[in-house]
């Protein structure tokens, strides 16, 4: 039976009960698709890097382009001090990208469409920025809230704004990814739902209209969603680098 409720696809279902210390850590469909995602990644990377050659094979070349893409972002944004964070940004990008792409498959769960997941990633990222900033600069890290060269009167206004903007970062970072994935999938489902609705309402004519008018729209939106799947992973990785720069770079 095809579920026509556009929200049904985001429903988490328990697959295996697991309770540790009073916490419900059950293995759900969300957990299952996370495991699938990292297995896909690990298997791909293992295949790509098992026999590294000077003249790369196609998969090796793909893995190298992937690595150089991420390393390029980190180098452009964070320069030399960003080097230790390349694996983290690589993992963040890859995890989100694969989760998004896995979610594009019909009936496969999109783990990044839940705010608990994206929100935690965002909080983790900002938490890391704060931690690295305090380790590297101590109290000097707080200078990011006090822009240099601004008159004292303006600082009274600017500093609270800077603090609010800093605090809103994890919300915007987590919300952006979550909302994009959720919205895209809802849109796809709603458009797809037009076809059976039209068919029920108008019979054969409705089916024809659905096929001729709605189906190309769905194809287009699906293509767009694949772009969004990449773009959101890229944006998350990019913003992680930009935020890390507050902790690593010179005071601005």
């Amino acid at each position: 039976m095809i579920a026509t409720d556009p929200m049904h696809q985001f429903k988490i279902e328990k697959l295996l009960d697991l309770k540790i210390g009073g916490l419900d850590l059950s293995f759900t469909n969300s957990a299952f698709w996370m495991v699938v995602g990292i297995l896909v990644l690990i298997l791909f990377l293992a295949a790509a890097t098992s026999k590294m050659k000077t003249v790369p094979t196609r998969v090796q070349s793909l893995a190298e382009i992937w690595y150089q893409f991420i390393a390029g972002i980190v180098k452009d944004v964070n320069h030399a001090p960003g080097k230790p964070f390349i694996p983290l940004v690589f993992t963040l990008f890859s995890f989100i990208f694969v989760a998004n792409i896995v979610g594009m498959m019909p009936y496969w769960f999109t783990t990044t469409s839940h705010i608990a997941v994206t929100g935690f990633m965002a909080i983790f990222t900002i938490g890391l920025v704060v931690l690295v900033g305090i380790i590297k600069k101590g109290f000097g890290f707080l200078k990011i809230f006090v822009p240099s060269g601004v008159p004292l009167v303006l600082l009274l206004i600017v500093t609270p704004i800077e603090i609010i903007s800093f605090l809103s970062r994890p919300i915007s970072l987590g919300m952006r990814l979550f909302a994009n994935m959720l919205g895209g999938h809802v849109a796809l489902k709603v458009f797809a739902g037009f076809i059976p609705s039209l068919a029920v309402a108008l019979g054969g004519v409705g089916m024809l209209m659905g096929g001729l008018l709605v189906m190309p729209l769905i194809v287009g939106v699906t293509a767009l969603e694949f772009l969004v799947a990449f773009l959101q992973a890229y944006v998350f990785a990019m913003l992680t680098c930009v935020y890390l720069n507050d902790a690593l770079g010179e005071a601005h």
Binding site: S26, T28, V35, L45, T54, Q60, I115, V117, L182
Partner: protein
């Protein structure tokens, strides 16, 4: 995570799983996220990225080494071309020298030989000339003798008297000279 809880409260009961289920499965989602992300991070950071980085660096190194080797080989080739050219120039100079020397030698030898031959010819010429002069002188003396005889005979026939030989001789000599 406060804001998540607040959002969950907002959307309660609207059939919106990302917010509705955060209470039931939020912790589970975060737990599995941390677990899977951690495993992936570990694998990426300790195994895959070092491998990829190594391969990229190896390639860069290999390219650099090859380029350096090519440059060294090309400069070696240039050097040997220069050496070759120098050798050719030297050989050419030597050949020119040899040719000039040979020519000079040959010229000298030719000159010597022609001088020798000329000398020999001159000697022969001289002897021949002296012989000719001798013969001529001899012939001249015989001519004067014949002329004296003839003159004496002619004078005797004309005058009937035999002229004095000394007078005949001086007359003939005067006629021959004149």
């Amino acid at each position: 995570m406060e804001h998540q809880a607040a959002e969950a409260g907002h959307a309660a009961g609207s059939g919106f799983p990302p917010f509705d289920q955060i209470g039931d499965f939020g912790i589970s989602q975060i737990f599995w996220l941390v677990l899977t992300f951690g495993v992936l991070y570990f694998a990426v950071a300790t195994v895959f990225l070092p491998r990829i980085k190594q391969a990229v660096e190896d390639r860069d190194g290999a390219i650099k080494a090859d380029v350096a080797k090519a440059a060294a080989l090309s400069s070696a080739a240039d050097a040997s071309v220069k050496q070759f050219e120098a050798q050719i120039a030297e050989a050419r100079a030597r050949a020119r020298d040899t040719a000039a020397k040979a020519k000079a030698e040959a010229d000298a030898r030719t000159a010597a030989e022609s001088a020798k031959a000329e000398a020999a010819l001159n000697a022969r010429l001289a002897t021949a000339e002296s012989r000719i002069a001798e013969n001529r002188a001899k012939a001249m003396t015989s001519v004067s003798a014949v002329a004296e005889d003839a003159a004496a005979a002619i004078a005797e026939r004309l005058t009937g008297a035999k002229p004095a030989p000394a007078a005949v001789k001086s007359a003939v000599a005067g006629a021959l000279r004149g």
